[in-house]
Subunit: 349 residues, 2 copies
Amino acid sequence: MSRKITVAAAQVGAVHKNTSKQETVQRLIDLLHDAAKQKVQLVVYPEASLTTFFPRHFIESQEELDAYFEHGEDITQSPDVRPLFEEAKAQGIDICIGYAERTPDGTGYNTCVYYSASEDKIISKYRKVHLPGRVEPFEDPNATNQLEKRYFTPGDLGFKAFRVPNLVPDALKKSHSSNDDVKTDGTGDPIMGMLICNDRRWPEAWRVYTLQGAEILMFGYNTGSHMSHLWGAGNTMTPEEQEKEALFHSRLVQQANSYMNACFSISSARCGVDDGKYDLIGGSSIVSPEGHVLAEAKTKEDELVVTEIDLAICRKGKEKTFDYARHRRVEAYSLITEQTGVLEPPLLD
Amino acid sequence: MSRKITVAAAQVGAVHKNTSKQETVQRLIDLLHDAAKQKVQLVVYPEASLTTFFPRHFIESQEELDAYFEHGEDITQSPDVRPLFEEAKAQGIDICIGYAERTPDGTGYNTCVYYSASEDKIISKYRKVHLPGRVEPFEDPNATNQLEKRYFTPGDLGFKAFRVPNLVPDALKKSHSSNDDVKTDGTGDPIMGMLICNDRRWPEAWRVYTLQGAEILMFGYNTGSHMSHLWGAGNTMTPEEQEKEALFHSRLVQQANSYMNACFSISSARCGVDDGKYDLIGGSSIVSPEGHVLAEAKTKEDELVVTEIDLAICRKGKEKTFDYARHRRVEAYSLITEQTGVLEPPLLD
């Protein structure tokens, strides 16, 4: 059974501090038009797509900070962003998009949502679990801060996989003629999951999704090219080497986790040079369940990375090497959920 | 604080069905002599180092099968293998070696042990947790079987990290002057863990070890080059492409898991062409905590892959990007230990 979908990563180049949300949303819409021409069914936008990546800045003014957030429960009602969802509906293209979310009670999350064009609504929301960095700014004024732990609360929605309707025309539906469970073995509507940036480096996140049968994982990212101040003393890499290293790690974890979880992955970068000095890697890509890069960005600018994928390809890994039911041994994994940090064996005498 | 060790993967080429254990052990000793010349302190041998990889054969005779196993609790007392441990002691080189173990109660395990030359004893034993393949042979007589689940029981020792004495001369020891706990932060004797072959594809295994602070993971493997019959219908890869793919996956998971766990890894292949027809990949290598290949095999024959590693390099990952205490969110991981197989979301209406 073939289950083919045409998908895209919508990479977004530089967004400066003073770039307006309207201007950025128009660029996202332009990418959507490009996607429509190529008969794309699903577009994945970056993490925090609507603004510059503000967690690099130490912001003391609440008003200034709040301007980077979307307020309220439903981003499709946000006046600045509404035109994007309207266009997605008009074109019949599903979108996954990341943004900074401020809830009515004032909590900040690094969030993304999945909007189904056919349903004209958000069908899943994810809040970033693995916030990198720290709470306090660096003392070095030239260091690029990583203040996500200051501005956001770790996501409280877990890693909840979800089915997406109306992407695969002949997907098996629930049988209404009986109360029997229909066998779910890669014949139904696609199962997807969302991650955000740093989550991709944590194999736990991928595993929780694929324990729910996820066939496509999507994530956006803002990853600095030149973060040597985070890399400890003795770092002697040139800026070019640092960018190469950051891209190597990003690609490595996407390829390996796609393979070890027998799922496709779509990654979308906010990239380029923000405000003339903050350099972010590109590398948006679509990776197969065998860990191969099927398509990737050639620039560090707005760019649509498109390919057709066949979800049936996931079955090989899911039914053989990574048939969890046959091979996993949960009795040996207990530390993974019992223990957050490291407990070393005692020192020897 | 520099904590440097010179380590080696001792790759072993073809071992046929009729190759005697004495002959194979002599080759392992030859590799040890080579290691001694290069001042190696730790040599990692492959999975099931002593015989051909017999789980590819459907063996009905218990006597024939038993000949592939080492019997009893302590392999250092096995007459065929004892010369290897004697030589390791004489040269002052620690070794990690894999073999098929038959316990006194008749249970079969795919096992490896860590022998400390300075202690002149096995200081840790590991039994393979993730047995690949199946119980029944393939019907196709030309298919290479993968009968580990038939001949072995999943390991019952978990993933237990251990400290290794006398490798790092100035490693911090337990303070005898007080009962205070000594802070364990990469200043003590090295912390290691052992995996076997297929385990390397399971991020759970790596994570359990590094939740105990592991700085070096070691594993041997027997990985078929041409296993297209395992890869499902529609496979059209040439034998050369299949070998490239198998090597790609092996390398990919080693590099990514080393990076995501901020540990060194040493992998050692049983490789070459057994009995003129069973082709195994090489690719023995030593990988850094940043996921880079530091040294790798150039052949598919007996070959020592040597490099010096500095365990201090692990601290960058362990204290920043992969500082578990700061970043892990175990409340989101519960499915990993609650659920062995896949539970998909219900089909949509």
